[in-house]
């Protein structure tokens, strides 16, 4: 039975008001249905799949950043719709500023933070990793180096993925945040 909040809230409130002397509903022990299995057989597999997917996404990020365009068609396959919007906003800002990058960035030290199953809607995964931009410079339209002087060479990120099938292409980045433990990457 689909769980609906409002009728249950109403029922709960009404029940409280009754100062309830109502006989208990029987507690139903569920019949074992096909339990949703996690998509990956092990955490190591999950992490490996996420790292591979992130690698493809990362390459697309660098390519776009070096080109200085806001065309994110190559991106869309790697991220959820919500995340795509955020990435698009970032890309548009650099186009507006007239900046692009040059050089190769890398990432390392991937570590699994959590991997869990959401049942039928798929799995979620959170990993940490270090992005290294030591060899990347930021240039303006005239080719001058405008790399911010306080830009850290290495940063720790926390990335959340959604996975809907064992197909590599179903792994999507849902969220990308700084991980407060920046020491991890130093």
């Amino acid at each position: 039975m689909k769980f609906r909040m409002l009728p249950l809230i109403a029922a709960a409130s009404f029940t409280l008001l009754l100062a309830g002397c109502v006989p208990a509903d029987p507690v139903v022990v569920p019949v074992e249905t096909d339990a949703a299995q996690p998509i990956f057989a092990s955490d190591e597999e999950a992490l490996a799949a996420a790292v591979e997917r992130y690698g493809d996404y990362f390459a697309a990020v660098i390519r776009r950043s070096n080109e200085g365009s806001d065309d994110l068609r190559d991106f869309a396959q790697f991220v959820t719709d919500e995340q795509l919007e955020r990435e698009l906003a970032t890309a548009k800002d650099s186009v507006d500023r007239g900046t692009h990058t040059r050089g190769t960035a890398t990432f390392d030290r991937p570590k699994l933070q959590q991997y869990w199953s959401n049942g039928d809607s798929g799995d979620s995964m959170i990993i940490y990793l270090c992005v290294d931009v030591t060899d990347v410079v930021v240039l303006d339209t005239s080719g001058a180096d405008v790399t911010p002087p306080d830009r850290p060479n290495r940063a720790a990120l926390e990335i959340e993925f959604e996975v809907t099938s064992s197909d590599q292409e179903s792994i999507r980045i849902a969220r990308s945040d700084v991980w407060p433990d920046q020491q991890y990457c130093l």
């Binding site: 769980f3 409002l6 249950l8 809230i9 029922a11 709960a12 409130s13 029940t15 409280l16 309830g20 002397c21 109502v22 006989p23 208990a24 509903d25 507690v27 139903v28 022990v29 569920p30 339990a35 949703a36 299995q37 955490d43 990362f58 990020v61 776009r64 950043s65 955020r86 906003a89 970032t90 890309a91 800002d93 990058t101 960035a105 570590k111 699994l112 933070q113 959590q114 991997y115 869990w116 199953s117 049942g119 931009v133 990347v136 930021v138 790399t147 830009r151 850290p152 940063a155 720790a156 990120l157 926390e158 969220r175 990308s176 945040d177 700084v178 991980w179 407060p180 020491q183 991890y184």
Partner: protein, 252 residues
């Protein structure tokens, strides 16, 4: 037990009526792009380009938060000890089978609410386990073994599982309301009785008397206590017993 939980539950439910379910605040986030360009403020976690009015920018991390302690890589045993000098005989490394009689203390699995859950709401689970040292004899010599918990695996009893580098904590110490999502919470979708299992993954190090700690390759996974709990709809858990039989039951 359930009595004191009823009022907060009612308050939470009444609040939910008036508010749309809040998204977990993660501010504007930082993608790899913003790291490349240096627009990500790694101290606040905000991409400075993306601050917009009305967005909650006070939460630098995501719901994951800082994980279990720091680097996973084993320490290099040659950093601080004599055994790596050329004139010292190498000894074979101590393995997990050598320390088989040093057993880590199993952790404890705790759930909130205790022993019951409401279908559709977050049930919080957390593990209680700390670094601990056991002393005894190793390879014929007095020694200590230190166990550090580094990972937590839950089986929720409904087919869902979770591996977490975080042990989790109470709603109160996380500063959230009862039934709020936590990094280790789970939602049950159907009423019934569930068996919840937890295993904790430990790293081990050993030390002979007077010497330094050395790491042991691999990890040990130790089951904690099994929990049994009943999930019901809000109405069912609020009025559990006929109040003439149990006048102090929930809802009476």
């Amino acid at each position: 037990m359930a009595r004191s939980a009823v009022l907060p539950l009612a308050v939470s439910l009444l609040l939910l009526v008036g508010l749309a379910a809040p998204a977990i605040a993660s501010g504007a986030g930082c993608s790899a792009q913003s790291i490349l360009e240096g627009t990500c403020n790694v101290n606040t976690g905000i991409d400075d380009d993306e601050v917009t009015i009305g967005v909650d920018v006070e939460d630098p991390g995501g719901p994951g938060g800082p994980g279990g302690g720091g680097a996973d890589e084993p320490e290099d045993p040659c950093v601080a000890i004599d055994a790596c000098r050329d004139d010292y005989d190498a000894t074979p490394p101590v393995t997990l089978s050598d320390i088989a009689h040093f057993r880590p203390t199993p952790g404890v699995d705790v759930m909130q609410p205790d022993g019951w859950m409401v279908v559709g709401l977050h049930t919080n689970f957390y593990a209680v386990s700390n670094v601990h040292v056991k002393s005894g004899e190793l390879l014929g010599e007095p020694a200590s073994v230190r166990f550090t918990p580094i990972g937590y695996r839950w089986w929720y009893g409904d087919g869902a599982t979770r591996y977490s580098a975080t042990a989790g904590s109470t709603w109160k110490s996380l500063g959230v309301a009862e039934f709020d999502r936590t990094p280790t919470s789970h939602i049950y979708r159907n009423p019934g009785t569930y068996f919840i299992d937890l295993s904790i993954v430990f790293r081990a190090e050993y030390r002979f008397v007077g010497e330094a700690w050395y790491p042991i390759q691999g990890t040990l996974t130790v089951p904690a206590n099994r929990l049994v709990a009943v999930a019901g709809g809000a109405k069912t858990v609020l009025v559990e017993d006929d109040c003439t039989i149990n006048p102090s039951g929930p809802g009476c």
